[in-house]
Amino acid sequence: MQRLRKNLTTCGGALTRLVASIAAMTVGSCLVAAQQIPLISGGAGFLSSTNGGQTSYLPIIEPLLAAPIGSHLLIETRASAVQSWFPYSPGQNGYPGYNHVYSLGLTYLQADYLASSHVTIVGGSFLIPFGTYNERLSPVWINNLQDGPLISSLGTMSTGTGVGGMVRGSAISRRKYSVDYKAYFSALDKNKKFNAERSSGGQASVYLPEKRLEVGLSYNRLLQGIHENFYGAHVWWEPKDTNLWLRSEFARGHHAQGYWVEADYRSDKFHGLDSWVGRIEPVFRMQQTFQRDQAASDGLSLFNTQRVDFGLDYNLKHNTRILTSYSRRFAPNGGNENIWETGIVYRFLFPVWKGK
């Protein structure tokens, strides 16, 4: 939730204009195939977090618009609207209460040009590819736990997004293995709406479908101030026929490093995944961060930190999930704390207009 608050910038008027212009652009393109109507997808949720006896509430909606223009061009953007309610200490009148902060912003806005079967060219504001969390797991309706990993700020240049261009695609795709790649360059952009650092980097990953195993490496470099390097590696594995997912990631920055390992499981042993037992999804995540020096934190805690998360999710019908978790954070100097989180998340997906 802290990351969400940090990343969002207020741009209500600009957001409306941007969405309107995209909609006009897509409506104007009269060569829309029957199955390529623009869509709106995303998640809406109500989340709560109790940390040290203080409970905060976070209603959130993250809509994504994907609009194809012809068969080679796709415009996509994701917005985020958050109303954060958090308690404040008793003031002069002696009564405790809640403050709230509203924020609305575009997370990214990019154009994808499908140049060939192996190359997609991306331009605009995009999610920085590093590890797996930022691009794949950060949407509120995907993440198994409310909070992102502690190291999610490593390698994503503190903004999570870049402004510039990216080349990505499937380098090799065979039945037994596939190789994906991404390479990007971002310019410095101090615009409040699309804040970005000057950086570049890339990612490559190998996926073995029969083993359900993915291994990837990431490298990003900050190209301003002290030019810092960030290295990352991830391993995802789904043992065959188990419905167990194991995800792990390691990241090393100039000042800090860390890793996380997550396991989540659904049982199909009791009348399948759609039975009431099969909809239960226990989740476990463990993570550690280590400071390499005291000069800066790379967005992490200034102390070596360990954290474990025990989650229990329930996948309701109609694309709705209930997320619950208990987390324990271990840190020196009285940094130990319990974190209780609950929430309900709904995933939506529908066409922008009704097709014929």
């Binding site: 195939a33 029957a34 199955q35 390529q36 109507i37 623009p38 869509l39 994907a66 609009a67 194809p68 796709l74 996509e76 994808d112 499908l114 079967s117 192996h118 997609t120 991306v122 691009e135 794949r136 797991l137 309706w141 995907i142 990505r168 695609g169 499937s170 795709s173 596939s178 994906d180 790649y181 991404k182 996926y207 479908p209 993915e214 995802w236 789904e238 043992p239 026929d241 188990t242 167990l244 390992v261 396991a263 042993k269 226990p282 476990f284 463990m286 360990q306 474990v308 996948n315 019908k317 109609h318 694309n319 324990r328 271990f330 995933r347 997906l349 529908f350 066409p351 009704k354 097709g355």
Partner: protein
């Protein structure tokens, strides 16, 4: 609670899951039928299974499948997934056939 105990709990979780899998295999749990090589090939069925495999291996790696969606946006979904999941052209074609049998 100590951090090491938490790590041990996770290992137990993984161990139990793998044990369940091994037990299922060892006690003759449900196994897919062997393909009949003499049977004529069912093109539609092949496309569905290939597309289903691609969906399971790429899309389901990150998220669960939606309960349903309009067929009018299936092409947009596939285009979006091609970018996000770095799908090859073949994979997108099979996925399209899977969404529109």
């Amino acid at each position: 609670m100590k951090f090491k105990q938490c790590v041990a709990a996770m290992l137990v979780l993984v161990g139990v899951s793998l044990a369940l899998r091994a037990q299922n295999a060892g006690t003759g749990g449900p196994t897919p039928p062997a393909p009949d090589k003499s049977a004529p090939k069912n093109q539609a069925g092949q496309h569905a299974s290939e597309g289903e495999r691609i969906f399971a291996q790429n899309c389901s790696r990150c998220h669960t499948a939606p309960d349903g969606f309009s067929p009018h946006i299936s092409g947009t979904i596939v285009m979006h997934m091609r970018v996000r999941a770095s799908l090859s052209k073949h994979d997108t074609q099979e996925l399209m056939r899977f969404f529109n049998p």
